[in-house]
Amino acid sequence: MSTLVPLPVVLPLVGAALTLLLGGRPQAQRAVSVGCLSASLVVATVLLVQAYRQGPLVAQIGGWPAPVGIVLVADQLAALMLVVSSAVILCVLLYSIGQGQAETGESTPVAIFHPTYLVLTAGVCNAFLAGDLFNLFVGFEMLLAASFVLITLNGTRLRIRTGSTYVMVNILASMIFLISVGLVYAATGTLNLAQLAARLDALPDGVRLSLQLILLVAFGIKAAVFPLSAWLPDSYPTAPAPVTAVFAGLLTKVGVYAIIRTQTLLFPGQQADELLLVAAGLTMLVGILGAVAQSDIKRLLSFTLVSHIGYMIFGVGLSTAAGLVGAIFYVVHHITIQTTLFLIAGLVEQRTGSTDLRRLGGLARMAPMVGVLFFVSAMNLAGIPPFSGFLGKLGLLRAGVAVGGPLPWTLVAVGTATSLLTLYVASRVWNIAFWRSPCESRPSTPPLPALMVGATVALVVVGVGLTVVAGPLFEYTGQAATDLIERTPYVRAVLPGGAS
């Protein structure tokens, strides 16, 4: 079974090479991309089932045993993230294919898009599976390098302007990550996560805390945690809709995943909890207040994205099993829903040529299907029962109440307020863009391509489906969280001979 573990990384990379060779033949490119991503979704699902039944699956790359060689580990958390991200990535690919057909080769240079997109996928999967800190860094670099290309696609003036901010901030974050890798190695003599789990405990408290904080800063920039979040709403909105959607859904969550992984496995103490909780509260509030002030749907969604990262950090900062369960469930929910919302913004843009609220109106009559999709997804994001957003927030708030104390209670209040403000923001978009009477008569635009709408519908269905499977999903995340806090299942799977 462990031979399957590298496949989510290898398949997209092979696909990237093939699509690069097939540069002049868009049909073949599409077939290869869809084939690769479908296959890796199947593999990820198998891994999920196996990890649930047998515990963490470990692949030793090159046959070298764990502390020496590179290991890829698919434990329950990693497998769950793989399944969700593969599904989302596949849907967004179909959406972009639909959009490409609509534009008939006008703007997106397909020859670059498919290989880069597949490399991005490989990087995301590598980051989820990485069993050592340096491989995690390599995964981050793969997805970042691909994202640099995607965010500056076509090299237009606007994208170069916003892209340069994005590139700079992320390179800086990578440098900080690299510094922490160097320092961790100098302090412990290993980078294998399982071995680090044992060796970091032996370090003096001050050294361990400073390593923890440097790593938190690096991942905090990538996850867009306030005050390290200002780059995100500036750079995401200008990219093409599918690119923004997949960035919003996945890239920040890779940062959150890295925070969850390092906080539980490497730094199980509670030294950084208060810092995390304060950062989580500020992220929620500042993000959502930013969203209130926006008049462009894509920018507004970028701010809600930042704001809701706060919920996940809140769950991590509680450092209880219930908090982690809530955080993991919320990551799954938020990957799906935030991607969906950006895809819907893309549909609006395709239909009207703009996502500026000052120019939109009457969409509910003009495109009722888009209206329904937006309404369901926005209510899901705001956390209206019975959607998964409500369940995720409820789980987090209950975990906060269970911990008690002034800071968790404040966070519970902030979380509730953020949820209400998200509802306000969502209904504002609904009222202006969809409900008010339309602006001047527009030239009739062609109907939306079926594939674009179909891919969006599929993601909305997945988002709503999370409510249906919420029971089993909570049970699964519960087991994943217990394993994360115990640490022994992970360590024993990687180092059967015991860590030293």
Binding site: F148, N154, R161, V167, I171, M175, S295, R358, R428, E440
Partner: protein, 153 residues
């Protein structure tokens, strides 16, 4: 054999990273690029000094106890390749920026500037009321939004 990590090496790292950070704070992309290169080199040195120094780590050539740690060197090679690729990409971006704008400065966020301006004039966005049709919206007439989207150079 070198003495491994010593004060001089750490001062070198500090100077490299410090100069890099100073350059990063500039507005011009080509200076930022130089800053990235300096920081990258500083961090790579840091990683190298994180391992034990000694003789070449080849079995049969040097004594095992006196070998240097090969792992940081392997990591540095990877890091150098990654920094090299990123530098090339940054160069391309700054050239493209110069080609399009005549300079390679990184300006502020346009929408942020607009929001600050509106806040300074204490304007209430008419869109927030959402009662009137967009055609009667004063913002539509007074201040048409800057063209968003792409391909309009």
């Amino acid at each position: 054999m070198s003495a491994g990590a010593n004060l001089v090496s750490f001062v070198t790292i500090g100077v490299l990273v410090g100069c890099g950070v100073t350059l990063l704070l500039e507005r011009s992309l080509s200076r930022i690029l130089l800053g990235v290169v300096l920081i990258g080199n500083g961090v790579n040195l840091l990683i190298v000094f994180g391992g034990r120094s000694g003789e070449a780590p080849v079995v049969g050539i040097s004594d095992e106890a006196a070998m240097s740690d090969a792992l940081p060197q392997a990591m540095v090679l990877t890091a150098i390749v990654i920094t090299f690729g990123l530098t090339a990409f940054l160069l391309a971006i700054s050239y493209r920026s110069w080609y399009l704008n005549g300079d390679d400065e990184v300006p502020d966020d346009l929408e942020d500037q607009e929001i600050v301006r509106r806040a300074a004039r204490r304007e209430v966005s008419a869109t927030d009321l959402a009662t009137e049709p967009a055609a009667d919206d004063p913002e539509q007439i007074d201040a048409p939004a800057p063209p968003r989207g792409e391909g309009r150079e």
